[in-house]
């Protein structure tokens, strides 16, 4: 059984077929790339996988179970977490609190317990605080924990979004252009960290990225979209030589 499987997945926006019959599989612990020219439908795939859009047709299965019709928060709880192409942090919350929001689903104490500060909540709050700070260490960001997220430099905002997604304990992590706006050194570091994360958290990663050399480097398999249609899939070497892919990228 695959971790994730889509069959004939498609969506139409008022006449525009933004995605057409996508077949895709991802197995545990894989790093898979999703590439394609602007407007190819990559982000749309993420929105479908996370329940933001409801597909016009087709199936999405996580560990064999259909997730179509589930709400985004339910899908996150059963194991898919994402980052956004245009960063969506909780800007006026602290860095640590951003992460703790994602950990909410694994905390137990009730609203009344919170209002009356009963013992349970202290313990859980301490635990979650410790975990949040530990997570920040992955990107050497532990000293930013009490800053407002809005005050982080751009690169760290992108990293915080990844950490926030990880905090929800996903089996599949979707990263939408995580290196956008970073310089080459930062990008290389980030890719190292992505490999590291895969090992440490035992998570599969689906990665949208524009920087081709980078994708080729870090991904084990690639899917290539153009105008909402899958035009190629396979290993980086295979994709590099694929004529359709070359044409699609030269054409734009």
């Amino acid at each position: 059984m695959h971790l994730l499987e889509t069959k004939d997945l498609g969506i139409v926006f008022g006449g525009l077929q933004a995605l057409n019959e996508l077949h895709m599989v991802i197995d545990d612990g894989e790093i898979v790339g999703l590439i394609g020219p602007n407007g190819a439908g990559k982000t749309t795939v993420f929105n479908l996988l996370t329940g933001v859009y409801v597909p016009s047709g087709g199936a999405i299965r996580l560990e064999g179970n259909s997730i179509i019709g589930k709400k985004p928060y339910q899908i996150n709880r059963i194991g898919i977490a994402r980052t956004f192409q245009n960063i969506r942090l909780f800007k006026n919350m602290t860095v640590a609190d951003n992460i703790k929001v994602a950990m909410n689903q694994n905390m137990k104490y009730k609203i009344l317990t919170a209002m009356f500060r009963l013992p349970g909540c202290w313990r859980q709050e301490r635990e979650v605080d410790k975990k949040a700070r530990e997570l920040l260490r992955i990107f050497d960001m532990e000293d930013t924990a009490d800053q407002m997220a809005a005050n982080l430099p751009y690169g760290q905002q992108r990293k915080l979004e990844i950490l926030r997604a990880l905090a929800s304990k996903p089996k599949l992590l979707l990263l939408d252009e995580p290196a956008a706006g970073m310089n080459p050194t930062e990008t290389r570091d980030l890719m190292e960290t992505i490999r590291d994360i895969r090992g440490r958290f035992n998570v599969a990663i689906l990665l949208i990225e524009h920087d081709m050399s980078l994708v080729m480097n870090v991904c084990e398999r690639l899917y290539v979209l153009d105008y909402g249609t899958l035009i190629a899939e396979g290993s980086p070497d295979k994709i590099r030589k694929n004529e359709k892919v070359i044409a699609a990228y030269l054409g734009c």
Partner: protein, 340 residues
Amino acid sequence: MGGTKKSIGVSYIINTTLVVLLFFVLLIFINTGVIGRYNTQVLTLVCINIILAVSLNLVTGVLGQLVLGHAGFMLVGAYASALFTKNIGLPLSISFPISLLLGGLLAALFGVVIGIPALRLRGDYLAIITLGFGEIIRVVSYNLEITNGAKALSGIKSLSNRQNPSPMFIYAFLIAVFIIVILFTFGRSRHGRAVISIREDEIASESMGINTIYYKLFVFVFAAFIAGVAGGIFAHNYGTIDPAKFDFNRSVEILIMVVLGGMGSITGSIISAGSLTILSEKLRDFSQYRMILYSVILIIVMLFRPSGLLGRYEISVPKILRYIKKRSSNKKVPPEAREE
């Protein structure tokens, strides 16, 4: 946040002491007649308005959903609790607290009915729907027999009287303190973080596992409940209510208190609700200009402090002391070493 455990403990003790002190000082003044009956009523109204402002702040400031009909929930609570104590035939000392709970619950029920359709949608539907609710509930209560129609509902008994002038104030004060405390602890819990994350980015919040509809509905209904309780105290504080007391202007008045204090700041709401209430009572003779006065204050604050007096921050006496200490010690440091 960020403070050490010890400093949190210390400020907790200081704040508690100050509130207890304030309470007993006021109580002694009221019982000895230093604060007269009229001013006691005003103080009770201050507490009521604080309750209303902090509850609206929860929805509009913390959750980020605009509500334009908070007075409507107050109306429901006011009439429900007044009619209950008038008709139940129990001693007021028993029926009054029950009536407050009842008023709150009925207001909460209206909150559920309005909230479910409005909050399932993303966007500012709640503002429009609550605006409509406020107007409809007022017009309906003008025309019902049970509310005594356009004539005021009068003869609502108060717990306070000449011999014992303080019970209404005690109720209002203690309920205000209680509500403020639970809103604080709620706000700093995992649930509070979830609610704030919805204000910050609803889509991101939902994709991080937050059941946004559940939290939006809870917060809105809870605020409606609190407004209902405030309405109940209000009715018994004045003895007479009519629908005009809960009109759109009243909703806006509460909203202004929240905006002035700083959206999302509980202490900000307390300060602005307190000062605006006292100010408008002192300027009673010019009451027709009250909304103009509010508007002018609002414009001035928005010009100079667009996020309200306190923005999203909370203040407390220990914090102020720490701030003053820091400033005075900073002055002694040479300027080039003073980098933050």
